[in-house]
Every structure is written in C-alpha cells, then in structure tokens.
C-alpha cells in the first residue's frame, strides 16, 4: 500500500533544521469530540508537533501533558480522546504528512471502548487477590498475564502499549521483527512502571544522561532472525530463558507481580506456517499466560479457543481466549517503512536523537581479539509435535565465525558470557549492548567497531544473525 506523502518525499530538511523553518510553520487547531481520533502518518522527512490545548488526550493510553509540544517523526499513530480535547498541530512541511480525524458518532463504532473495558477488567483482576468465578484471572496475588496476538498490521503492539500505559505491567516482546527498548532481532522484557515516551514506539535504551522521561531498563536476548520459524529451537530456548528471568522478577518484585505481564507477539498467520502456532503455544505455556487476546481475526480466535480449551496455566487458571476487533486506524507499514524504522532505531541507539546527542566510540580491534558467533537458520529442526524442548539435547544454534567482510555494517550483540563458554551458554546469555561493525580490513585482520561506550570489547562473545539487516552508512 502506498501512502501519499509517505517515504516518497524528496529529501526534506532533516528534523534538526526544523527550527530554521519555524518561520514557515503552519499551525492548525483541531477539536476532538469523545472517541474521536487524530490519526497521523509522519514520514522521516518531516516532523509533526502536537500540543494539547485543552481537554484530555491520549496517545496509546499515555496521557498528553497540557501545553507540552510533542514532536513526532517516522511514525504512524493516533491521538484519541475520551472527553473532548483541542489539539494544536504544527508541521514545518504541511504537505509532508498525512493526517485525518476519525469521527465515530457512537461509542460502539470505536474499538477503543473494548480496549478500555479489557483494561478495566485486567485492573479489577489486579486488585483482587483471591477470588473465584468463571473469569477468574488472578491466582495468589499474581496479576494477569495477557498475550496479544493476531495477523500483521492489526494494531497488536498498539494495544499492548495501551494496556501498558494504563496498567504499568511488565511488557514482554516475543516478536523479533520489532524491538522493544532494544534493536530488532531481539526478544526483550521490561517493567513499565513509569510514564512512557510517546514520541517513539517504546522509548530508548538507557543512556548515561538524564532524561525527562524515566528510562525503562530492558532485559534482552539476541535472536538474530526475523521470525520464530527461522529457527524454532533457538526461539523456544530464548523464550524459555526470558520466561525464567521474568518469572524470577515477578516472584521477587511484589509491585510487578500485582501488575502482571502483557506480551506482544509477531505475525500469526495460520495458513502459511503452523510453526507460528507452535511458537505461540510455547510462549503461552512458558509465561503462564491466562488471557489470550486475538486481535482482528475471528478465525484465529476460534482456532485458539479450540486449542486452549480446557487447558490450565501452571497456576491452575483456565486459559481464556477472547477476540477483539482491530482498530479502524491500524495501517499497513510497508517493508521500506519498517526498514527505515529499524535503521532509525539502530542509529538512535548509538547516536541518540534530537533531544539527546550520544557519543559512541569507534575502535579498531584485531580479528583475534574478538569472538563472534552467528545464529544459524535452522527451520528443518522444527518439530511441531515436540512439546518438551530440552536444551541439553539440542544441537547448538550458534556457530563460531571468523570476522569477514560479510559482517560489515552488521549489528553485533555483546552478551553476558565468557568467550570460552560453550555455545549454549552464549546463546542463553542476555545482551549487554550492541556494537556496529564500522569496517572490516581483511588484509590487516582488523575490525573497526562502533560501541556505545568506550571500552575494550574482546572479553565478551558477540552474537549476530541475519536480522536486523546490515545498516549501511550508520556513521557516514
């Protein structure tokens, strides 16, 4: 789908020069009635500044502060209101973005109502510690574990973000296609107990400087592939690992335990691969998910209902499957847009954004000083009937590789393991940070690496895979 004005704009002034163009800025004021949404799609080439003049407004569940400018770029999102509001929209390039107001006249014309009801139901489950009943979704003080799944472009992540902003739970991203507080290709978890950064998808990875929005500390694992199907065994191993860590956190942190978890998942397309189903079932069982929200597909709802019928979580609760309609505002994000998002995320990791300039450190290291492992694609080992994954019995999913030109411009994950550890330990280790291969000199056997902090890099194994794809010209 091609969206007018999105990604096909001739090079526009970069965001930094927005101030220079301020004189030309056009300001419009729009008034939103209850349930209305201001939906916008801003390409990377321009910015959109939104200011809440009066009333209350939310972006994905996070309330806008009054009279505070929020600058959006490279984003397709929406701002909605439950109670009417007035927004002031400013853009240096009024033709550079696409926006419209969705005006449902009755509450049942917007999916937001169901999302709110869902949240309130979860909130009730969080406050009730022990109770009985058919919709009992709490067990021994444990908040609900909600998994959101569905086909691509149904607003899964948006719903997860709303539930997160409203309920402040732990968020777990099991979709390697997108990163959460971490570059794509990773699985991560983080507690969102504080207000979220609404100008980005999830906010950034923690950095040294102070930030106006409290930083969220992620725990992430390198998967290095785009979909769970590309190496189901590795995916399952990492999900189990992530589940173990998050469950420990839940066990020790009463606040988080009460809030529960919200899980984001990748594209679930039943027709093409049953392995996606298997991966989902594995996630459900590992995280003791007790509420599966199938978004935008009645077929998936029905299939999952059948699949989880009568099943219980490890806590003895019934697994409830419910269907929800997708939002009318959910839009397709094409490959080039997503590629742009990925690149921007990686760039932001090293260099920061307009609000915060970061200084990465590039150094040259000999080939021998680094240990690099590559994630192998291994879809053949996928066995859908293998319900009990035994890491000890599996072949490794990593292979040790010599630095080569092939890894130029790749993102390597530095993991918390020892260079001499066996592959399985390295595979299971969580990510410490990322370095970018700025250059490979095979003749001199030297590797130029850009790291977020100036430090010696040889002591930790590094892992990379085919995803995220190499980002050319990160520093150039």
């Amino acid at each position: 789908m091609s969206i007018p004005g999105l990604g096909y704009i001739a090079p526009a002034p970069p965001p930094g020069s927005a101030a220079a163009a301020a004189a030309l800025v056009e300001t419009t004021t729009i008034k939103l009635e209850p349930f209305w949404e201001y939906r916008f799609e801003v390409p990377a080439s321009t910015t959109l500044t939104v200011r809440l003049v009066s009333g209350t407004a939310e972006k994905d569940g996070t309330e806008l502060a009054p009279n505070t400018p929020y600058v959006f770029t490279r984003l397709k999102s929406k701002i909605n209101t439950w109670q009417t509001c007035e927004l002031e929209i400013t853009s240096p390039n009024p033709d550079g973005y696409h926006a419209y107001v969705s005006k449902p006249t009755t509450p049942d014309q917007t999916s937001l109502v169901s999302y709110l009801n869902l949240h309130m139901k979860l909130e009730a489950a969080r406050t009730q510690h022990r109770s009985s009943g058919e919709n009992n979704i709490s067990a021994a003080g444990m908040g609900p574990r909600v998994l959101v799944c569905g086909p691509v472009n149904t607003g899964k992540t948006t719903l997860v973000r709303m539930l997160t902003a409203w309920g402040q739970p732990m968020v777990i991203n099991t979709d390697p296609t997108h990163g959460m507080l971490s570059p794509p290709g990773t699985l991560s978890a983080s507690v969102f107990a504080t207000i979220m950064d609404i100008t980005t998808e999830w906010g950034g990875t923690p950095s040294s400087g102070p930030t106006a929005i409290p930083v969220k500390l992620p725990l992430s694992y390198m998967y290095g592939l785009r979909t769970p199907e590309e190496n189901p065994k590795l995916y399952r191993a990492l999900v189990s690992r992530l589940a173990a860590a998050t469950t420990s956190r839940l066990a020790e942190d009463p606040e988080v335990r009460k809030s529960g978890m919200v899980l984001d998942t990748g594209d679930l397309s039943l027709t093409t691969n049953p392995a996606g189903y298997e991966a989902l079932a594995h996630v459900v069982s590992e995280f003791s998910v007790n509420l599966v929200v199938a978004l935008g597909s009645e077929r998936i709802t029905a299939d999952l209902t059948r699949r989880f019928a009568g099943q219980k979580t490890t806590l003895g609760e019934e697994i409830v499957v419910m269907g929800l309609e997708k939002s009318g505002g959910a839009v397709e994000r094409d490959a080039s847009f997503m590629q742009g998002v990925t690149e921007a995320a990686i760039k932001e990791y090293f260099f920061g954004d307009v609000r915060r300039n970061l200084s990465p450190h590039t150094q040259s290291v000999p080939f021998d000083a680094v240990t690099i492992w590559k994630v192998v694609e291994d879809s053949t080992t996928a066995s859908s009937d293998d319900d009990y994954y035994d890491p000890a019995a599996s072949e490794t999913s990593l292979e040790k590789v010599e630095p080569s030109l092939a890894m130029a411009s790749c993102l390597l994950a530095v993991v918390y393991a020892n260079v001499h550890d066996d592959p399985d330990t390295i595979r299971d280790a969580n990510v410490m940070g990322y370095v970018w291969v700025a250059g490979v000199d095979e003749a001199k056997r030297k590797l130029k690496l850009t790291a977020p902090v100036p430090t010696r890099l040889g002591d930790r194994p590094m892992v990379f895979g085919n995803y995220p794809e190499p980002v050319i010209g990160l520093t150039g």
Binding site: A65, M120, W166, V215, S248, L324
Partner: protein
C-alpha cells in the same frame, strides 16, 4: 459548545447510566456526579434527563435519583443549580407524592440541606436559592395542615359512627414549625424500625442545634443539647409534649398525657378499623390499645414502664398518623437494654403490655427481639458524619409485605391532592410501598453504615467492572463511568509529563517529589548537554531480576542492603584522581604506560580533565594502574570509566580494568549518598533515575572473575 445532537446522544448515555441506578449506591451516585461535572457543556441535557428520570421511575428508585440530583447540586453547582431550580418544585413534589414515609423523611432532610450552605463550603449561600425551596416548603406545610384537619375531622366522624367514642381530647392542631422534618419524628420512627431512618445520624439532616440531638448514645453520655434521661434512673425519660420542643427534661411522665395519646390512637385505629373491618392487624392493634388504656387507668405504673409505653405509643403514632408532626411527644429514646427488658419480667402489667407489643407489631417478632432491636439501633451514629455533603447510602427499602397501616401514605396523598398540588395519582406504587415498620426483621448488628470519609476514594474497579465479560458484545459496550478512572479518579496531572497524582495527602507528597525530580532532571539535562553522553550497557540477567523501578527518586531510595553496600564502598573508595587535560599536544596523545590505553577525558568542575589519571614524574598513569603496579595498599580499584557508586571492593586482577568498565554501565549508578563524592563524578551526577539493586553484586562479579582467571 456541544451541538444539540451530541447533547442528545450524551443525554441518552446518561439516561442509560441512570437506569442502572437501582438502589442508593454512593459509588454510582458519585460516578454520575462525576459525569455531570465533566460534561457541563451538556448540563441542560443532563438536568432534563435526570428530572425526567426521577419523574418516570418507580417510587422506590426515586430517592437514589434524587440523591444524584442532590449530589450534582452540591458537588458541581452551577450551571446545574440553575437548570434544576427551574423544575425543582415539580420534580420534588411529584416524587414526594409517590414515595413512602421513610423516603419522605429522607426527602425532608434533603430539602433541609438545600436551604443551607453546603457543609464545608466557604460559600454561605444556600444550596438552592430560597425562592426555589420556599414554594416546596410551603406546599408541604399546607399539605400537612390540611391533612391534619382532615384527619381530625375524620376521627370525629368515625367516633360518632361507632357510637362508642370517648370524648376526644381537645387538642387543637399543633401549629407547624418551619422545619419540614419534625424532630420528634426521628426517634419514634427509629424505634419503630423504619429501615430508612437507621442512617439518620449519618444523613444530611439537621445542622446544629438539632443535629446533636439525633445521636442517642446507648449509654446516654453527654448529650448537651438534648436530654437523654435514663428511664431506670431517677431522671425520667420524658419530653414535654409538643410544642415544648427541646427543653430540659421534665420531672416525670404524665399518665394523663399518655392517656390522651392512647385515646387519640384508639380513635385513629377505630377509624381505620371502620375503613377496613376485616384487617385483623388493626383489630389486634385496637385491642392492644384498649388494653393498654385500661392498664394505665387502673394501675399505677412505675416511671420506667411509662417510658416504654410512651415509646410504644410514639411508634404507633408514627404508624397511624398521617403526619408525624402530629405526634404530641418529643420522644426521647435512650432505653438501655436493662430498662427495656425489665417491665416484662417484673411488672404486673407485663401481660397486657406484651400483648400490646405483639398486637402493635403485627408480626411474629418476639417482644424481646423487638426491644433489643430498638435499643441496638441507637448504638452508633458519630456526629462526625454530619459533614457528609450528599446523603450517604442508606439501606435499600425492602419491599414490605402486607401493609397494615396504609393510612399515613394515603392520607398524605389525599392532603396533597386536596391542596391542589398533585394531579390525581396513580396510587399503585405508593400504597404498595407503604411502610410497615414492624415488619422489619430485627437487625443483628449495627444498622448504621460506618461513617465514610467525606472525600471518598475511587470506587473499586472490581465492582465497576463486574458486568464486563470477555465476550465481544460485553466488551463493546461503552461504560461511561469507567472513563473517569483514567483521568479524574487518578488526580491532577503533572503539567510537564502528564502523569496523574491523587489528590490525597500521599498523592500531594508524591507530586511534590515528582516536581522536584522534574526540576532536577531539567537542570541536569542542561548540564549534561555540555558534556558528552553515551548509551550505557545493559545489566545482566541476575541484576535485572534484582532491580526495582524507583519512581521520582534522584540518588535512589537505598534499600537496607543497598545502603549498607554503598556506605561500605563509599567509605573505602579513595577520592577520584584526575589531572587537567595537558596542553602539550605530545602529552595529549600519551597512553598509560602500564595498560597502553588512552585516558578518558571528562568535563568536570568546568574544565576538561583526565579521569583516573595520575602524574608521576613526567609520565601520566592511570591512577588505578599505578596503584596496582606499585602494590598500593588499597584493594579498591578506582574505576576507570566513570566509576560511580558501583565501586565495590574488588580483587586485584589482571583483567580488572576491562571487567570494571564492562560491569559499570553508566546508567546504573546508585548515586552515592555523599554529595562530595557525587560531585566528583560527572556521570553519576546525571543519574536521573536509579535502578536499585538488592543483591550485592560483588559476589557475582567475583564469581565471574574467577572464571576468567
């Protein structure tokens, strides 16, 4: 502002929300108030909807709806006062005509509060302007007066018809006071077990001076404005007949007065009997009354029994009389358990009295239970609850079984009709819901709701979401009362980030801390712009599990363990050593002779310095390298890269430095409590949020180091 169509939609939603209001539920009423508050642009539509709703609903639902009106008026005020005021007379009188007696009393109380300023408000104006409330009051008074006259006339007629009437005591109609709820009603109605009156003490009724008199403590302690005599004590529990009012306790109960009263009641009962001769309850009651009269006339009863008799009569009066105002006694109820039960065991008249009780109650309740009930009712009604602005929730009026004494409601209806205030009625609901006070089951426990805080907390989410099920249709249904939970219920908003803070004391405290945090962070952002920043390393799994998100804390709230760790390490940590960045370009590129690494340049105290650097002779070393090389006594490694509070004692190991740098993600500092130390380390200064660790990482790190070595 809002278009007509929208208001219409909104009104429809509001109406639906009102439909759900079945009983007097404080949460629901608050929610509806909140909706009204937030949607003042639809005020007219809301006001109309509510008034139509009050008019339309069944009589037992009128009171909750009226309370919504009351709550909106008192908590929101304009423009609702204006909109409601226009049709208030109609709304009020219409409702008044169709509800039962206890509800009327509630309405009286409510009306009374409307004539006064909102409690706790600085505004001294009454809730409704007098020109709105006065017509209602006048109408009520008129109705009562004519009812009284009609009633008395009726008695006389009946007596003549029966042909056995005793001379009617010449008691002229009592002049009406300007208080719509005669104070003497309350105790008697309470004694008779009207459910609606149990919460009188907590209700909006009556400011001082009458107010304190509503609270009859069981033990009769210190009731300054109202005598609460102990019947068993020498001070008799008797109030002078109306209009004596709230005087000092009288020396004794006059048997004559009692006789008069019984006479009246007998007359009334006879009248009733004549109307419905087949009602056995009236027969029983009449018989009991006659028995009682003979007892009174033939025996000389002790005071405490007189008190009881008087109480009974007062109760009965409420039942029988159309307007409680006519009850010629200001009954004081202070019956203690012992005194209330004594007559039955000790008095020779016990039998007659007992019969009277049974006959009067028209129900199977035993006398003992009845009296226990009577006494227990008074046990608690803290005056503190007087401050409540809206009527608090009251127990639901249970549908009563066969009403033995419908005369009160009916006659009032009649009066109102006579007074030309209401159209010919649909008598169904009113007669059907006529209270039968004695049918109330005995209350096993305190009938009063516990006093609630004036400013209530948010309703529990559980209650409000109990109707939601995980089905598409249920989830699609909009529930307007849930929306405020995202906004107003959470308190006021931080103007900088949009976070909300509760309006209670704790919330205010949090908000102050939050604003401090913003201030400091903004300051630091400005500072940090001068220096370089970089992304930090993430923590490892074990640390992540151990981190706790702390909110609005700079420097962290050290947990006991963390504090201990910090305290220890800070004490041992030597001062960071640094030298100004040399001007000499040769020196500028120099590396540490020991580790062959460059020096880390940081901006500190307004100049660029090399961190962890030490000039020895003409060579510059890393202070830590030098210390190790020279076998410095300290086992503490000054952290090379941005060493902050994480500096914990570490063993001297060959790979230490790299290890340290890897293990010291710059964002992870727990800012040391000592400012002097912090100010030396620019990185730690910029710690705006802190992830506290509960685990002492030393052991972990040591373990890893061992593996490496």
């Amino acid at each position: 502002m809002a278009s007509y169509q929208e208001s219409e939609h909104f009104a429809e939603d509001f109406r639906e929300a009102l439909e759900d209001l079945q009983v007097n539920n404080r949460y629901d009423i608050q929610n509806l108030t909140m909706i009204a508050r937030e949607n003042t642009e639809h005020a007219l539509a809301i006001a109309q909807t509510l008034q139509n709703h009050i008019k339309r609903v069944a009589s037992h639902k009128k009171l909750p709806s009226l309370y919504v009106l009351d709550s909106i008026i008192k908590n929101v005020g304009t423009p609702y006062t204006l909109f409601f005021g226009k049709r208030l007379f109609e709304t009020y009188m219409d409702a008044y005509a169709s509800v039962d007696m206890p509800t009327r009393r509630k309405m009286d109380e409510m009306l009374k509060t409307w004539k006064e300023p909102i409690p706790g408000s600085i505004d001294t104006r009454p809730v409704f302007p007098p020109d709105v409330t006065r017509p209602i009051e006048n109408a009520l008074i008129k109705a009562r007066t004519s009812a009284m006259a009609a009633q008395q006339q009726h008695y006389r007629n009946e007596q003549q018809l029966l042909g056995r009437g005793r001379p009617m005591p010449q008691q002229p109609p009592v002049p009406y006071r300007n208080t719509p709820t005669p104070p003497n009603v309350r105790p008697s109605s309470q004694a008779s077990g009207y459910p609606g009156n149990h919460s009188n003490g907590a209700g909006p009724f009556g400011p001082p001076p009458q107010a304190p008199s509503q609270y009859h403590q069981h033990q009769n302690i210190n009731m300054p404005t109202r005598p609460t005599p102990q019947p068993s004590a020498s001070m008799p529990a008797f109030q002078p007949p109306y209009p004596g009012g709230y005087g000092m306790p009288q020396p004794g109960i006059s048997v004559d007065a009692l006789n008069n009263d019984i006479q009246q009641l007998i007359a009334a009962s006879k009248a009733e009997f004549a109307r419905s001769p087949h009602d056995p309850s009236i027969q029983t009651r009449l018989k009991a009354l006659l028995d009682l009269q003979s007892i009174l006339q033939t025996q000389n009863l002790p005071q405490d029994q007189l008190v009881l008799i008087k109480n009974r009569i007062a109760e009965l009066a409420v039942t029988i009389r159309a307007t409680p105002a006519q009850t010629p006694y200001t009954c004081t109820y202070s019956t203690s358990r012992s005194s209330s039960s004594s007559p039955f065991s000790s008095s020779g008249s016990a039998e007659g009295f007992h019969r009277f009780s049974i006959g009067f109650r028209c129900s199977g309740c035993s006398a003992g239970k009845k009296f226990c009930h009577t006494t227990s009712i008074y046990t608690s009604a803290p005056p503190a609850t007087m401050a409540i602005r809206s009527p608090p929730p009251q127990r639901v009026e249970l549908p009563k079984p066969a009403a033995p004494a419908p005369s009160d409601a009916l006659s009032l209806m009649e009066m109102l009709r006579k007074a030309g205030m209401i159209p010919p009625p649909s008598t169904g609901p009113s007669s059907g819901s006529t209270p039968a006070p004695n049918h109330m089951p005995p209350m096993p426990s305190l009938p009063f709701p516990l006093p609630r805080p004036v400013v209530s907390g948010p309703p529990t989410v559980e209650n409000m979401t109990s109707d939601i099920t995980f089905t598409a249709s249920s989830l699609k249904q909009f529930r307007p009362h849930l929306v405020p939970l995202l906004f107003e219920s959470l308190g006021t908003q931080c103007t900088q980030c949009g976070r909300r803070f509760k309006n209670d004391a704790e919330g205010k405290k949090k908000k102050t801390a939050h604003m401090d945090w913003h201030f400091k962070v903004n300051q630091r952002i400005a500072e940090a712009d001068k220096a370089g920043q970089n992304r930090g390393w993430l923590v490892d799994e074990h640390d992540w599990v151990g981190t706790r998100e702390t909110i609005d804390v700079i420097g962290g709230v050290p947990t006991a363990q963390a504090a201990a760790t910090q305290g220890g390490s800070v004490a041992k940590l030597p001062k960071m050593q640094y030298i100004p960045v040399p001007d000499d370009p040769v020196l500028l590129n120099s590396v540490c002779p020991i580790c062959q690494e460059k020096f880390k340049q940081v901006y500190l105290d307004e100049e660029w310095v090399w961190e962890d650097a030490l000039e020895v002779g003409d060579r510059i070393y890393h202070a830590s390298c030098h210390r190790e090389a020279t076998g410095g006594s300290s086992t503490v490694a000054a952290v090379k890269y941005g060493g902050g509070g994480r500096a914990t004692p570490e063993p001297v190991l060959g790979k230490r430095k790299a290890e340290v740098s890897l293990y010291h993600p710059s964002f992870l500092y727990m800012s040391p409590p000592k400012r002097t130390h912090t100010s030396l380390l620019f990185n730690s200064r910029s710690t705006d949020h802190v992830f506290l660790k509960q685990d002492d990482l030393t052991s972990l790190r040591a373990g890893k180091l061992k593996m490496e070595v």
